[in-house]
Subunit: 241 residues, 3 copies
């Protein structure tokens, strides 16, 4: 059975995966969902991208995991790319789940439409602690478009502000683009967290992976909440040999 390490996206922490973890475990897999530095209630927010990466690198090392299927959601695409550079020998496959696959030298903000990037910068400036909190209206319409209002509200209460620095920093990804680790892209067909088309997730991000496996499912950017059982099945399709 597989060893899965699930890395959460922006505003989330490891607990966002709890239903998905339960489903994967019930299928006999070993599953971990660590929280990155700078994330989760009460964590200090003054982190850099390398701190996020090191959280996962250290977690894998401390648990002596190998043959890891490393899944990154959304922002965590940038993290698992750097984890892959650090410990390629411990990884079996990368699964980019509605995730950023940055061009070498880019930061996340370079890969979103300019008005989004401007909003992030403004939110960070106004935050007082260089964080960004997603406005509820965007969360409800663009991230949870497949949810009812109560679910959208409840899940919004699970979020916490995202450190701005890791989404702003430009990353050297030359080594990542030289790696031969197997990779999959898992895309949800109603995901409009990035606007479909020119700035969309797929095939813009996925096509950067070279030889990759595409897996799709219906749903929004947050099927982690709206369809965790379905997501777990698709993670298995994306992660298997």
């Amino acid at each position: 059975m597989g060893i899965y390490v699930l890395v959460h996206g922006a505003w989330h922490d490891g607990t966002a995966w709890s239903s998905v973890v339960r489903h994967l475990e019930s299928r006999g897999h070993k599953v971990f969902a660590p929280t990155m530095a700078g994330h989760g209630r009460g964590a200090a927010r003054n982190v850099r991208h390398a701190d996020c990466t090191n959280s996962i690198v250290n977690f894998i090392a401390e648990h002596s995991l190998s043959d890891v299927i490393l899944v990154g959601h959304s922002f965590a695409g940038t993290v698992i790319s750097k984890v892959a550079e650090a410990i390629p020998e411990r990884l079996k496959r990368l699964v980019f789940f509605s995730a950023f696959v940055l061009q070498d030298g880019h930061g996340l903000v370079d890969e979103v439409p300019p008005p989004h990037a401007a909003l992030f910068a403004e939110l960070a400036r106004d935050s007082g602690d260089n964080t960004i909190m997603i406005p509820f209206s965007i969360w409800r319409e663009s991230f949870m478009n497949d949810a009812d209002l109560e679910t959208a509200k409840w899940t919004y209460g699970q979020l916490s502000p995202e450190p701005y620095e890791p989404v702003r920093e430009k990353l050297d990804l030359k080594k990542f683009y030289s790696l031969k680790i197997a990779r999959s892209y898992l895309y949800c067909t109603e995901d409009i967290a990035l606007p479909p088309g020119e700035w969309g997730w797929h095939p813009r991000m996925s096509s950067r992976l070279g030889l990759y496996r595409l897996v799709q499912m219906p749903g929004s950017h947050e099927v982690i909440y709206t369809n965790p059982a379905g997501l777990a099945e698709k993670i298995l399709e994306a992660g298997r040999d």
Copy 2:
């Protein structure tokens, strides 16, 4: 429960929604499906776009409806945009269902591939009364690609000629683009009434809505006939708070 006003597309009249209305009512909603001026058997065809809009504006006013979820199919995207300009205070949400979201200053014919626009112009010229009737072969292959031949034929018998003037007229939509009414785009993934890609419905039309909710379902441009129960469920997903 919601108050839904369903606005039919070209060649149709309000009766096209009858199965959808039944499904929505069975879920406890108040549902109306008025027929626009110039549409339906026996109606005078010499109407302008404002006449279509006024049909809906007056219907809503006469029934004293407020908090309306206003759904426009196809051509009716141009109508609900103008209705929203006229009575924004009565509307809760706009649902563009495989619908035109015109650029300011455009008419519908400016938003279809030039050969389609040329065909419309030719049909209008040859009609004798400035109307256009969709040829059966296009209806069967491009509009009802998910139907069997009998359904395609039966539904074709439900159609009547479309006044050309409202699809030709250029519309001032500056106020529409300033409105803050919530909006959704409902797209059917096999809809080829507009050719997918450069001239497609989605994301070309949907992306003009700014912050919007995307809902998708399988099917052709005419799921109103081929899957009314499924359409009703998706209208509820698109229309809820």
Copy 3:
């Protein structure tokens, strides 16, 4: 009931359709799945595109078939286009199933991304007999992304080397583009044998068909193996009047 002639793609032979044939026959249709010249175990590989076409033309003539619904998978899109030029009077409809619709004067290799074309040329050069065999890693990730590893391996064992000449030859398709035979495009939404986007199957290939019927289903390029029952149903939707 319909008369279906199913034409296999590259690396395959007629036996690839066996489960699909069984499903179609159980629905009461007459179904044939001939193997093209240069294909199948033991066949001489030094064939040209016209030999492939003639296999199908002769098969249809010898069996005195008419009103044929002619289905071509992948490479066989180029073949059914030429068959249509040769015997249009025997055909009722063309179904392009994840298939090439070549521009007039192009060969298949002109319609794939340049790195793919270069790989094909290299494989042919190194083969000793001017054939190309798809590497397993590409088969597993890009062609059978919806399969488990065992299925990917088993099906790989069913393949045989593809003659290079028919995929390289430039074809005159002027007559094809003048024909009025009804046509459908059947596309699988997770098919990445051609990379989605600029070089994708749909709408790039499908849009060349003029007035056509779109049918879609979930799955990879090889639903012929991973979902033959579902494929059979969609072939019927694509093939019916």
